[in-house]
Structure formats: C-alpha cells, structure tokens
C-alpha cells in the first residue's frame, strides 16, 4: 500500500554548511527494512529536486532504525550567506515525511 513516510517514520533535519542533513527514523524494525529498501539516495534527490542542487549521500544507522541523508548544495550558500527563509534546512525533515513509499499493509500502524 502506498503511504507517506510520515505514517511509518519520523525525521529531524539541520544544517552542515551548505548541506542539510535529514535523519529518518523508522517506527519499527520491520518498517526500517522497508524504508532501507525504498528510500534510496536517488529517490530523495528526486523528491528534493527543486531544493538540492548537489548530490545526496545516504548513511545507515541500523541501531537507531535510521537513515541519514546529506543533501549537498541545498541551502543557497548556507547559514548567513543564504537568501532562503529556511537557510538551515530545518523544514527538510518535514519535507521528506511527504515522500510516498510502498509498505505492506500488515506493517501499517
């Protein structure tokens, strides 16, 4: 079944220079396996295509049921130089939770 990530995960984001980082945390070990398979760096890059001008790096943190994404060149120059309202990528975590993925119905809360 196709659902938004916000139904099966939570997230937090922040800045690292001109990159934002988005940590995505699954609500259960089984959902982590689904998210690990579905939420690739390529899909995240496509989701943020109007925001992220550079590469997307993905790291796995299985002990926290988490994936960490670095969105390079995503903050308009970063911190103080940026002209964006969200110069620190604070909203990017909320944005990622709108990504739709395929989740087996029996795993849904």
């Amino acid at each position: 079944m196709r659902v938004e990530l916000g139904r099966v995960a939570h997230a937090r984001s922040g800045d690292k220079g001109d990159a934002s980082n988005v940590g995505l945390l699954a609500d259960s070990p089984a959902l982590f396996e689904v998210i690990r398979r579905e939420v690739t760096a390529e899909r995240v890059r496509e989701h943020f295509r109007e925001i992220c001008r550079g590469e997307v790096e993905r790291f796995e943190v299985p002990n926290l049921l988490a994936l960490n994404f670095l969105l390079h060149d995503a903050l308009g120059g970063g911190g103080t130089a940026s002209l964006l309202t969200d110069a620190q990528g604070k909203t990017h975590g909320q944005g990622l939770l709108r990504l739709e993925i395929e989740v087996p119905e029996e795993l849904l809360p």
Binding site: G6, H10, A11, R12, S13, G14, D15, K16, G17, D18, N21, G23, L24, L25, H47, F48, R49, E50, I51, F59, E60, V61, P62, N63, L64, L65, A66, N68, L70, G76, G77, G78, G79, T80, A81, L83, L84, T85, D86, T91, H92, G93, Q94, G95, L97, R98
Partner: protein, 457 residues
C-alpha cells in the same frame, strides 16, 4: 556506582532565558551546561570588541548569574559555558562583580583561553598551514584580508582542568558543544585521555544535551504526542562511571523523553554516523543502544569510540558582501497571480534603474504556497493570501540598499490587496560568511591557558 547529573539549559544563542533557572529550581543537578555561541556569533562579538575592549562575550550570561547565583551556591551546582566568547576575562570580571555585589565572595571562576587564532593567522598561513575551506577546498589566504574571527574548537580537557582547579563557573570561548558535558564527566569520573569508549559515551551525552529541549520533545515530528510543550523540561543526563547514562528531565515539567525523542536528537546535524569527530575522540553513533527505562527516562549504553585526530576544527568568518530581504502580504482574489506580478514589478523597476542581480543572488518566495519546500508540498490553488518575500545579495552595498527602496511602492503602484509592509525599508546587512577548516592540533594546544580567580583576584 557514582552518577553525575549533567544538564543543559541553553541550546543556542537566543534560547529561553528562563530554562536554566528552571533546571536549578526543578530538582537536583550537579552541572549545568550553557551554549551561547552559534557559528557566526564570534564574528559579531569581534565587532563589539573592536568598538569596546571590555565587550565581546555573551552578556545574557551575566544576567543569568545575577538571577541564579543564590541557587548555584546553595545547590553546589557548577556551570560550564562558552559565554566567554572572545573576551572570557572581561566576562569573568563582570561575573565576579555581580558575586561581590550579591555577597558571594567565595565564588571561583575559571577561564579557558587559546582558541582565538585571529592574530596568528598570517603567521600560520606563512608557516604552510593552508586552512582550506572544508566545503570548497580553497586556502584561507584567498580571503585573509576579510577575516573577522578565527577560533579553534577546543575539547573537554581544559574544561576539566578548570574544574579540578576549583572553578564553580568555567567560562570558555570556542569549545565544542559536547565538551560542556564531557568536561565535567572527565573531571568527575577521571576518564583517561585514551579511554576512547568512555570519552565517546560522554561526547554522545553532550550531543543529546547540546540543543536543549530538542531532546525532550521540542522539534519532535509527532508533536501531538508531547504533553505541555509550553512548559518543556530541559534535558538531564545521569552518567555513570562506565559511560552508560540515562536521559531524563525534571518531574513536573512538560515535554517527553522517549527512545524516539532521543533518537531524533541523535541524528540532528549528523554527518557520517560512524565517525563523529571531536577534539577528544571519534565517536561511533552506530554503536549506541537506546532502551526505555521508565517514564521520561531513556538509557543509553554500548557506545564505542576511536582515537581522536591530529587536527582541530577551525571556525573562521569573513566579510562577503551585503544582503537584504523584504516582504509584503498579498490578500484577496487571485493572490498568487498578484504576488508574482508584484515580484516582477520590483525586478523590472530595479533593472530600469540600472540595478540587476545575478540569478543566484536574488530570490523570491511565496510563503504559504511554495516557500520552504518547493516541489514537495503542493500549495493550494487559490489561497486567500500569500506572503511575498524577496531577497538579494551583492558585493555592492549601494545596489542592496536600492533594492530596499523598491518594496514599499508596491502598496500604491502594484496590484490591489498588497499590505503588511511594516518595519520600514529592508536594510542592507553585511554578510558574515562561515569558513570551516582544519588546523594541526600542535599549533593550538601548547597555547591553551586555564586560570581560576575569585572576588579580589
């Protein structure tokens, strides 16, 4: 087993002024960490210090001391803070003045110095230290004449040294946020400089604490699960000698401490989770184990660390032109179409006046339609109103000032329903850009100085 209670009552410059007091009043703690420095705060302090040699530190902290001193002394709580900024000695003088006025003659205040490298930059560059920008690879020499501050991030050792010398308050400049917690833990538990697993555990405790309420329900995705967020309790770590610890908050406060709120803070500002590099240790976030340990209690254990690196992070700032941003509210029928027209009018009138900005140096956002997350959140087709925000930047201040004069005329010479232009013309702000680099540890550490003084010296 001995447990040390370390709290954090200030996550950044501008955080709640009441939170540190609430931590002192809500229950027992041993150490209170307070973070007042954002990436470019030191550049602001440098300008203050240039105008007044007695300025250049976080004045909020002196106000805090005045309010909190009776509680601090009565409870024996020790405070570790980076409020010293670029002038920790001046900050100490003000703190000791306050102590004298309030009758706390026995207060001892430590100062950690040696992080400020501004005066040494030409010498360091000449000696072959490139201090390359970690994002662009450019050597610092390319902006050396525009640098306004340059500080190395120090670690927990000098903080522990000041505590061992009897300081009840330790004033630092640029130390890592994690050192505000790790310093007390090294002092209390006597962790050795190569006890990597314990140093990593203390570092991760510091990381969980460093953003204040972000560990206890603030900024949490499932905000609807968080009770009484208005009265959120700031985080406390109860740390055992083996490095394991429990994250909690005072009873009777709002907020929420669960595996989920703590895990969300762990991934905040994370890079490579296996290598969280600090001056003290390289911590491995993939080793962390989180377990529920009762209401509003989460146990953290299993943390592994590896040796620290031969480099310290250097955080410099330099002047990089000017910027300004202004906004109007556009209401009524066809609001989006009117806002787009208003933006076009501003850019074309500026071009007519000979003022043009490069594509990357001007920005328009329709807040309410496609502001922060363009392409992700589909905006409403016909919102009743939107906020149009325009921003520019340029090396030429005059161009940026000219932009600021072109917003107000929209109210009478733009589309109908334009309002909310308050606060006067947008003013040009100087851009103080951030320059993250590395510097060899041995260029900094021999210059560190820790001093402890009381009222009257």
């Amino acid at each position: 087993m001995k447990t040390v209670r370390v709290a954090n009552g200030q996550g950044f410059w501008g955080d709640s002024v009441d939170a540190p007091l609430a931590l002192l009043e809500g229950g027992p703690i041993d150490y209170l960490g307070l973070d007042y420095l954002a990436e470019v705060t030191l550049s602001i302090m440098m300008r203050q210090k240039l105008k007044d040699p007695a300025a250049g530190y976080a004045t909020d902290f002196v106000e805090f001391v005045r309010r909190a001193l009776p509680r601090l002394v009565e409870g024996g709580v020790r405070v570790v803070t980076n409020a010293g900024g670029l002038n920790p000695r001046a900050c100490r003088a003000r703190v000791l003045e306050a102590a004298h006025e309030l009758g706390f003659e026995g207060l001892r205040v430590g100062v950690v110095e040696g992080d400020d490298l501004l005066a040494r930059l030409p010498e360091l560059a000449a000696a072959g230290h490139p201090m390359r920008n970690m994002d662009t690879g450019e050597p610092l020499a390319s902006v050396l004449d525009r640098v306004v501050s340059a500080n190395a991030y120090l670690g927990a050792r000098p903080v522990a040294e000041a505590l061992a010398a009897g300081a009840q308050i330790v004033l630092c400049g640029r130390v890592t946020d994690t050192a505000l917690a790790l310093g007390p833990l090294v002092h209390e538990h006597g962790w050795a400089a190569d006890d990597w697993d314990r140093l990593a555990a203390g570092t991760i405790a510091g990381h969980i604490l460093e953003c204040g309420a972000q560990a206890t329900g603030g900024n949490f995705s499932r905000f609807w699960e968080v009770p009484e967020l208005w009265n959120v309790g700031y985080p406390i770590a109860e740390v055992a000698a083996d490095g394991s610890f429990v994250v909690t908050k005072h009873p009777g406060t709002g907020g929420l401490v669960t595996v989920d709120t703590v895990a969300e803070q762990l991934v905040y500002e994370m890079g490579d989770p296996a290598s969280y590099v600090t001056p003290d240790v390289t911590a491995d976030f993939t080793s962390i184990r989180l377990d529920p340990a009762g209401p509003d209690r989460v146990r953290v254990s299993g943390v592994r660390g590896r040796p620290n690196t031969p480099f310290l992070k250097l955080s410099a700032s330099y002047l990089d032109g000017w910027k300004a941003a202004g906004q109007v509210t556009v209401s009524g029928p066809r609001a989006v179409e009117k806002a787009r027209l208003a933006a076009e009018i501003v850019w074309r009138r500026l071009a007519r006046a000979g003022v043009e900005f490069g594509a990357g140096d001007r920005r328009e956002e329709l807040l309410g339609v496609s502001g922060c997350l363009p392409g992700i959140l589909p905006g409403p087709d016909a919102p009743p109103e939107v906020v149009l925000r325009l921003a520019v930047r340029d090396p030429d201040r005059a161009k940026v000032e000219r932009f600021g004069k072109e917003i107000a005329p929209l109210v009478t010479s733009g589309p109908p329903g334009v309002t909310g232009f308050a606060g006067g013309r947008p003013r040009a702000q100087e851009v103080v850009a951030y320059w993250p680099a590395l510097i060899a540890r041995e260029q900094v550490e021999p210059h560190l100085e820790v001093t402890v003084e009381g009222v009257g010296g």
